[in-house]
Symmetry: C2
Subunit: 584 residues, 2 copies
């Protein structure tokens, strides 16, 4: 926040009594408050906007805007930073050149690995980032108490403490089971956020009708889990703002915005988020800029698309005095772009400093220092042997529950299948595309292994594994062959976290993620190359999914309907109970 | 705020597991989030909305909505309660039948009379009101330190304390002199509000260009002093929301909204306020309902006009989780009205209870208990004698400064005039409509009397006086004759506050306002009758102003350009200094 002395400086600069630090000359400023494009010059002091009509004011430096449009920096309203597999400082290299200058991040992955210490490890080195890293305080760590093993927890007292942090903007996504289950601890967390003037983010996956109304009664302010226009409208009418999501796996923008356009709906309560987007996808298609441009190409007026990426988000999170527009007193997060038909940032300023140019970062992104323990979080008890993945059954064959994937969505359907029993062990059957799925406890606590079946990967042989496995982040493995599954677990333990593909007992590709078992210290290019290699090998093995590791990391979620797999077993998400993989 | 147990109750009611307290059946619910009119039934528990699709849910009671529209209750975003001359409980009788269910009140009048104790006296009895009384914490008591005498002050510590009250929604209107004058205390008050997640209300009277930009740099979130569309647009583009004002004296709605319509401007950052509206005007034309209907008649779509009176206000003040829509969890403040072409509330519910019907209050409005001292605040030292109002000058005539009134505005212009000197005393000259104006210190502190001249009242003889005199609330008197001015002061001291008209040395009409010298304990009908009598007598004496006592109460303001009169003398508002009435 601005100090009183800084405020006085801004006021004096506006009055022409002291020089500005910087003027970005000759711009067409996009005023997101009025929707008017104004020819002018952005005057900046202490990293804040003083005026967009700076002509005639003195400045220590000028930057030639060359008649380009000047937009406020884009805001990602809900993101799991650590799901990008990059450290916050390395992530800057991908998102800031795309125009994203604020990330509203729920650090629940690091919290599941290490509790409050995990969050501090993630955010500790982030002070000098060329984007604003704001916190949606994780409301549910663990996500499913009693149904999964995690490395850390955040209780009511920890959450209250974190909500008081200056960087905390909200209580993070609270899933329906806590609300509809009338759980005191979580409703008290909502009350704690509201008492501090902050909002509580929703996570209303799969809810409609009475359940959605009951969920809204819980005090939640928004939802990012709506997959289509019907979902979006159902949420908006209950006063839940809609965080339109376009991640690597979840693709909700087209359906929602086509409906909004067809229905003539006001867009003021719509904003954008990525939730979970892999770095290769950010490089390939973009970040929030991709969503803005997609909205424009669908027919949303550019000013409205920009508002969704800026002012709407800032107002919803009650930080419109800090970011989201180029009005006086706001951080000078400025995108310069030659066109509003398709917005391609030529320059990006964050806090008044040039941060990126022509698609490349120019701000320094020094490596943060992470605590030593954060690189030693994978402690495997069981899962190194093929036999650890056996699922005993009698008879020649058995009926099983099968997690049925939907294309491009993280929700799934509970299906069923019939599998052969070989030597008393239920085997995967690639001919039916029914593969074995396992979640191996990795915090050295109990050696649990949860087992289930999944349809949709298309793998014909081998196995894929990941220590990024929402939200508990145990090791999740999908495979045709148990020996390959074990080989993946051994590789992940060696790397202290990461992704791996194995076939014929050999690890064919790997990506080490030693920071919390979630993130790589390597630059984005290296991580992306490793990830491409992993995907290519997975596809060689028959996998048909565009982002197999992203999909894999979500099957483990015990909060997104209908089924999830944790180290304790298969979870019926709606009923919030463990159920048998074998059907009677 | 809802307790966790109450939240659980709402959730269970939504799920149909426990009965609602009340269902308002058969309504067309105006959904201000989507702009859609939805046929339904409003389900209510603990005074909160659970659902607007209550069909099929059990309820302890039902109310037949008879197919009427159901709207959220209206919000007055900036009002000086005590300027209505009524107590909060008596005011309910006027505003609630009109559909106003939330008053965002800046209690600066009571604070100027009695400091923090004055505010507590005003709000102390307000717990059971049939409307929400929320507080814009007075930022500047006194308004003009060093330029006026007041009965109380609110320093930084007091303001910080009040900002923490659950009913506090913002820091109240901060005037430009504090901001452009770089005064630490007031900028620290802005920071204190922001640190608590609350906004700071502006008061940018007369500002434009660089000064307005500098003012916005001060961290203010809005303004209610814009008088026309040019003002409104200038504020909106700087990120200042516009509180469109329609009080007894200030009439800004038509100009602003005609411009908004002509310019096709988005209305999301517009809302309504009365600021200062006398009770007779509320009875005659209405309250926020009047503004909504006026907007509709100008061509604003009904849904947008309703949004201005509800959701826009709630979102701006960051209380959209509490009021402003009929979404789950919000207070069940519901207006039932047969038409949206002209909204005439047939029934008004506040907090789920029927509060008014067919224009009449039905909720109980028990008289509050005010502390004894609050009825003894007028302590006159000087002003009982005609000679106290003498303004000495030499020669047969002299040039003087004259406060020139604008019709229907509280701003004024600094003019000049030439007056006769009679027996060494500058006299009023009704033939030129130049009258004598005085401000008599009434807190027993120093016996100051400020003297000046004013044009615009049209009074031909006699005098008018008021102990409601913004913001210091000393006794302000306008008159042709000094003896009549003194007679008014004597009457006001006898009444311990109030309004008076005198002529020929006799008091012809009076309205006692013994509570803080600001408010009457009498019912609205009595206060209005007295006020009409006062106006009628004033008009008999030649006064041409529609609301002479409202105008009188604002000439004393040392913060609205160009001139103001306090007990210390004539104030140059822009330069924030005392100046001589006599010109050299």
């Amino acid at each position: 926040m601005l100090t009183v002395e800084q405020r006085k400086g801004l006021i004096e600069a506006a009055l022409g009594r002291r020089p500005l630090d910087l003027v970005i000359r000759d711009v067409r400023a996009v005023n997101v408050h009025t929707g008017v494009i104004e020819s002018g010059d952005v005057g900046i002091l202490f990293g804040r906007v003083v005026t967009t009509t700076a002509e005639g004011l003195q400045a220590r430096a000028t930057f030639d805007g060359r008649g380009q449009y000047a937009l406020p920096g884009f805001i990602d309203t809900h993101v799991h930073l650590d799901s990008t597999l990059l450290t916050p400082e390395n992530l800057a290299r991908l998102i800031v050149p795309r125009g994203t200058t604020a990330m509203l991040a729920d650090p629940m992955e690091s919290a599941n690995v290490g509790g409050l210490a995990g969050v501090q490890a993630l955010l500790g080195g982030a002070a000098d980032l060329p984007y604003h890293l704001l916190v949606e305080v994780s409301s549910r760590v663990p996500t499913a108490p009693g149904l999964e093993t995690t490395g850390g927890t955040l209780d009511l007292a920890a959450v209250q403490d974190m909500l008081g942090w200056p960087a905390a903007v909200s209580l993070g996504e609270l899933d329906p089971s806590k609300v509809l289950g009338l759980q005191d601890e979580y409703l008290a967390k909502v009350a704690a956020a509201q008492a501090l003037g902050k909002i509580a983010n929703g996570h209303a996956a799969g809810l409609a009708g009475r359940e959605l109304e009951a969920y809204a009664c819980g005090g939640l302010a928004d939802d990012h889990e709506g997959v289509d226009y019907a979902d979006a409208l159902a949420r908006l009418r209950l006063g839940l703002s809609v965080l339109v999501r376009e991640g690597s796996t979840e693709r909700n923008l087209d359906s929602i915005l086509r409906g909004v356009l067809a229905g003539g709906l006001d867009t003021r309560h719509l904003m954008f988020c990525t939730d979970d987007k892999h770095p290769d996808d950010i490089v390939a298609e973009g970040h929030i800029d991709y969503m803005v441009n997609r909205a424009i190409s669908l027919g949303v007026p550019a000013i409205q698309a920009i508002q969704m990426a800026t002012l709407n988000a800032a107002e919803h999170f009650r930080i419109e005095h800090l970011i989201g527009s180029l009005a006086p007193g706001r951080w000078a997060d400025v995108i310069l772009a030659p066109s509003l038909e398709r917005i391609v940032p030529a320059e990006v300023f964050c806090q008044g400093r040039l941060a990126a140019r022509d698609g490349r970062i120019v701000a320094p992104t020094p490596a943060a220092t992470y605590p030593e323990w954060f690189s030693h979080t994978v402690k495997i008890t069981r899962g190194r042997q093929a036999a650890d993945f056996n699922l005993p059954a009698a008879g020649p064959a058995a009926e099983v529950r099968v997690i049925e994937l939907y294309p491009d969505q993280i929700i799934n359907r509970s299906g069923r299948g019939r599998l052969e029993v070989v030597d008393g062990n239920l085997r995967a059957d690639p001919s039916q595309d029914i593969l074995k799925l396992a979640a191996v406890e990795r915090y050295g606590q109990n050696g649990n292994i949860g087992l289930a079946f999944v349809r949709g990967f298309g793998l014909q042989r081998g196995a894929l594994a990941s220590s990024v496995a929402h939200d508990h982040h145990n090791v999740v493995i999908v495979g045709v062959d148990e020996a390959d599954m074990a080989a993946c677990v051994v590789a992940i333990e060696e790397m202290q976290g990461g992704l791996a593909v194995a076939d014929g007992g050999q690890v064919l590709a790997r990506l080490p993620l030693p920071l919390g078992g979630l993130m790589s210290p390597q630059p984005p290019e290296q991580v992306i190359a490793d990830l491409r290699q992993l995907s290519a090998v997975a596809h060689d093995l028959g996998c048909v999914l565009p982002a197999p590791f992203m999909t894999l990391s979500f099957i483990s979620l015990p909060t997104v309907p209908e089924l999830g797999l944790t180290d304790k077993g298969l979870v019926d998400v709606r009923r919030h109970v463990l159920i048998d993989t074998l059907l009677p």
